[in-house]
Symmetry: C2
Subunit: 313 residues, 2 copies
């Protein structure tokens, strides 16, 4: 029996998975969480993880030589040698994660950025299964992106590859994005972005709409109302889709993925989200890219541990 | 002594290079051209190339076992197995280039798209030397792009990666691009694109400008006039740079290259072209990408044979 670990480090919890390797595939046999201890500039996080791994091996009678590796995803840019530049949410500065965790566990370790690692997970066992060129879009408070080409994570020169939430798509915008620029994609097409679009339209809208009765309109409210054929909600969804579809058409002529996998909080609204992204995408896409597929993410919060494990397989 | 061949197939000529391999590097020791025979649906092209290779080996007394491979770039999409989808300028339909040329020469062959292969050449010995994440922009009649990540060519699902001339960047455009869409980057930022911008502005311009005396204003005329501080030419160059810089800022958050290498006819104007691209790029770029480098392509028409050779090294 051979094993590996997949670890997904978040600002509040560390998700851990033990995988049983069978030939070229692997299966998640146990998963658990620990709290992320961000005290002392996060210097205890890898020690806690090493303790859990060593403990799990003892408990399961797994010999270290039967563990082929540990994959770990962290919320910050990581280069191809395993050096994290900075992970503000963990209190981390620059250091080599792979060397550090290997020295604590005596197990080969591979590290990556959490959004990229989640994309690898969705490629392996989720919405991108069967393809080796995929892009995972995480539509949450912001927009995260993970790009997998020929089965490998694209990190880029300074780990900024996949930061597609910061594509510039609107010259008219005067409000600033969190990044300091104006007119970034995530100002319109994230969960908070679409809520902001709704707020603006609600002020001007004189018709009847279910959205008028809400204090704070959420992305979920909007797509619930779209299902009820609420005119205002449909308009908002169209505006959201126009921005996102056009941006994805540009991404398609740059890296040309087989499939865009839509994840994050907004993907919980289901296929209806894709129904509003695909038509503008096809309108703006280069002819060779018009058939690019769209799918929903399938692994939810487990995408990170799956992708982390896949890194060492 | 070990050798390899780098071949660049164009619609009018086939450029060929013989390289001498020294450890992990190689040096171009001879280059020559033959005419591209596009008769009979281009079915003679690979035969002519094989004849030249076999001939060169005899002439130089090079034994086949000392040739590590043939790299070949062609004007059409090529997948990772060496299958070309279609190369309209050569009359080619779908077939496996690598298998075909190998059967004709008994030498291992690797094939790729010509724009991507040229990018690999510029990475190896040209404007991207020292970096393994680069993008080559070929600003000619259209805009070609080649994307190299971690030293490998990005081809994409259907070979459309790097078609950045067809990023959609202007919603207001009513004239169609050659691809059938409206508002594509190459309608503004190619050599013909900037000439078109000039034409439009010349109609409305009442001031004095050297460009007014020309029948057909070319990209070269514009940058020559920019050097003379011609107001109209400076305005046109700024508009060109605004379109291109903004598009490159979007590319930077998607694949995050170390360097953008500017090639093609327009790059002959020199560093001044970059002077008009960099400021808008930096204005729109995500903070982590603002320091992305710009350089001029250095290999000219030889980029293809260098890149082709690099594919088999």
């Amino acid at each position: 029996m051979r094993y590996c670990f997949g670890i997904d480090v978040g600002a509040t919890t560390v998700k851990m998975g033990l995988f049983n390797i069978e030939e070229t595939d692997a299966e998640l046999i146990e998963k658990w969480e620990i709290e992320t201890d961000i005290s002392e500039h996060g210097s205890l996080i890898l020690k806690d993880i090493a303790y859990e791994i060593n403990n799990k091996c003892d408990q399961k009678n797994i010999k270290k030589e039967n563990i082929i590796g540990i994959g770990i995803g962290v919320p910050g840019p990581v280069n191809s040698s395993g050096v994290v530049k900075k992970a503000v949410n963990l209190g981390w500065g620059e250091f080599n994660i792979e060397e550090k965790l290997k020295s604590l566990t005596k197990i080969y370790t591979k590290a990556g950025n959490d959004a990229n690692v989640a994309a690898l997970g969705e490629m392996w066992k989720g919405g991108g299964k069967g393809y080796d060129n995929i892009i995972l879009l995480t539509l949450g408070t912001g927009i995260g992106g993970g790009i997998i080409i020929d089965g490998r994570i694209i990190s880029g020169a300074v780990g900024a590859a996949g930061e597609i939430g910061h594509m510039h798509i609107n010259d008219q915008e005067t409000r600033k994005c969190g990044c300091g620029n104006c007119g970034c994609l995530e100002q319109y097409a994230s969960a908070s972005g679409i809520a902001r679009l709704a707020k603006t339209r609600l002020k001007e809208y004189n018709g009847i709409s279910a959205l008028k009765n809400k204090n704070d309109v959420s992305a979920k409210d909007i797509f619930d109302a779209v299902r009820q054929k609420d005119d205002l909600a449909v308009e908002i969804a169209k505006e959201f889709g126009e921005y996102l579809g056009r941006a994805l058409a540009d991404i398609a002529v740059i890296v040309n993925p087989f499939v865009f996998v839509i994840g994050g909080g907004m993907s919980k609204a289901g296929e209806i989200v894709i129904d509003y992204i695909r038509p503008p995408f096809q309108k703006y896409a280069f002819h060779a890219c018009k058939d690019t597929k769209f799918s929903l993410a399938q692994l939810g919060n487990d995408a990170g541990i799956y992708g982390a494990a896949k890194m060492v397989l």
